[in-house]
């Protein structure tokens, strides 16, 4: 086998003789050697650093820098233009007093609640249905059908729902008249707007969540299931005692994803109602977007973002702890 950089002892490498000149006196030779070794390592692995360059450059510019700036800008008053005045915690104080912000939080909690309950239960329900199918072919067909729903761009689906919610030509009013409900304004109605947006997620079967849960169900050892059948365990009992505990990890994952999604997403709110009517459907993400791009108050918008980040981290942390203890 040809000697390569990996197989030769360190001292045999040419770099050892042309090492960096460490002119610092008073340094113990131990530290001196360590420093040479690190530089030598880095030189030896120059390929690695080169390979990493595109990724790190991109992330540095478009991820790390904006994050730092986001946190920094929340301490400034910056209303467009190029002048940013440092105002310390003033933005935060204003935010704590801001009734609109609290209204948006209240609205967001409805979305979060829905996303992490119905949004978790429906994929679980469908996954169980799929799981009980005897024919593998039927499983494949239905699974593919459910996943196919992601092929249509999200915005398009939202726009179609806007059409459906149109009080005049949309289908919703004709549909609910079948149940004896009078025509509503839906997205324009103060009492119906929030619910309308939530309902546009019908039937709440996120294809990716579905795939995750279904894969988890398939990973349950067959022996467990057979044993339960032999002991005369009913289906419902089995689901409760075997399935759910075995897939608890994935369920928790989806639960947390649901919370994160409910907390920060504002596509639907932006496109369907732009927060209206009034503040009925305003959510923090949208409030931040409007502060920045409609009202040009970038400093305040960053403050909202900062606080949202903290809230999200807190929510995630808490739900992580809660669910874990439920499983012990």
């Amino acid at each position: 086998m040809l000697p390569t950089a990996e197989t030769l002892p360190l001292s045999a490498l040419p770099e050892a003789r042309v090492g960096p000149a460490c002119g610092k006196t008073g340094e113990s030779s131990h530290v001196h050697q360590y420093r040479i070794n690190v530089f030598r390592s880095m030189y030896r692995y120059k390929h690695a650093y080169l390979f990493l360059l595109p990724l790190l450059a991109l992330l540095g510019i478009f991820s790390y820098y904006p994050i730092v700036m986001a946190l920094k800008m929340s301490f400034y008053q910056w209303k467009g233009g190029n002048e940013a005045i440092f105002i310390g915690l003033d933005n935060f104080v204003a935010l704590f007093k801001d009734q609109t912000f609290y209204a948006s939080l209240k609205n967001a909690s409805w979305f979060i609640l829905f996303d992490c309950t119905v949004g978790v239960l429906m994929p679980l329900f469908i996954a169980e249905l799929l799981f009980h199918l005897k024919s593998a072919r039927a499983q494949y067909v239905f699974r593919t059908l459910f996943v196919a729903t992601i092929t249509v761009p999200t915005v398009i689906v939202i726009l179609v729902w806007v059409f459906l919610y149109n009080p005049v030509v949309g289908g919703m009013n004709s549909l609910v008249s079948l149940f004896g409900i009078s025509p509503q304004l839906w997205l324009g109605g103060t009492n119906t707007a929030l619910f309308s947006i939530i309902f546009s997620g019908f039937p709440f079967i996120n294809p990716i969540y579905l795939l995750i849960v279904f894969a988890a169900l398939q990973a349950i050892p067959k022996s467990l299931i057979e044993a339960s059948v032999m002991e005369g365990c009913g289906t419902w009992r089995r689901i409760r005692s075997i399935d759910i505990p075995m897939i608890a990890g994935q369920l928790k994952l989806i639960f947390i994803l649901g919370i994160l999604h409910g907390m920060q997403s504002f596509y639907k709110q932006l496109i369907m109602t732009n927060g209206g009517p009034g503040e009925e459907t305003l959510v923090p993400g949208l409030y931040m977007y409007q502060s920045g791009f409609t009202y040009n108050d970038f400093g305040y918008a960053s403050t909202i973002g900062f606080v949202m980040l903290i809230l999200m981290l807190a929510l995630t942390f808490v739900s992580n702890k809660l669910i874990k203890s439920g499983n012990e």
């Binding site: 991109l58 510019i61 459910f146 179609v160 990973a219 973002g305």
Partner: protein, 275 residues
Amino acid sequence: MASRASKKVSFVLIALLSLFVLFSFFPLLIMVLTSFKSKMDVSLGVFHLPKAIQWDNYSRAFETVVPFAWNSILIAVCAVAGVLVASSLAAYAFARYKFPGREILYYLVIALMMVPTVLVLIPMFKLVAALGMLNSYAVVILPQIAGGCIIAVFLLRSFFAGLPEDLFESFRIDGAKELRILRSLVLPLSKPILGTIAVLNFHSSWNDYIWPLVTINDKALKPIVTGIMSFSNDYATDYGPMMAAYVLASVPLILVISFAMKYFVDGLTSGAVKA
């Protein structure tokens, strides 16, 4: 008797599942149905079948949609290419080389998965404005690559790390350089997972709505999901052609994903996602 009971169960299951599939596709069916209607048909009600198919809707929509569609395709292809290149190189480095700072850098990259998009929206806007990148394709493509790489590196690294060492040895004996190894050995083996990553990124690039909305004002450059909003306003209440435009806007994405559906589903169900 057991088989009769299980047949009944199967029937109920299939009926239920079909119902839910119908529910899932319901908005899309309405969309396609409405796209064939004339103005009068639309006013009759959503569930009415059109008297005659209005192909005219599609020809009107076609002209408006096509330029936007080309923008989306260009952006998506560039974004996918960028993600594949940058993440393969980086994941390879993370997986096969033990260089100083490897762990720290890797966790720094992965930690970005935690960051919500909302937070960086505004500073990123200010940044690209200062760089003079507004109203260009690059302003949309580059951030998409950055975002897509995070998950891609995560997936690829574990895959690369799992490749057996012997394969690499035989290549090294022949004196192959590192890039060559990557190109001729690793990439062909990684086709399935690269396919999954390509599909995921094409999908998220196509769906990217808010960022192009705030960074591109020039109508000629807008990707389709953003352009279609201004387009909706042009058509006001003309729902037939509007729906036709929506259908056309969905077609490329449907094609791409159907093509690669196998990769996508296999990737997610192989148990790669664990607790």
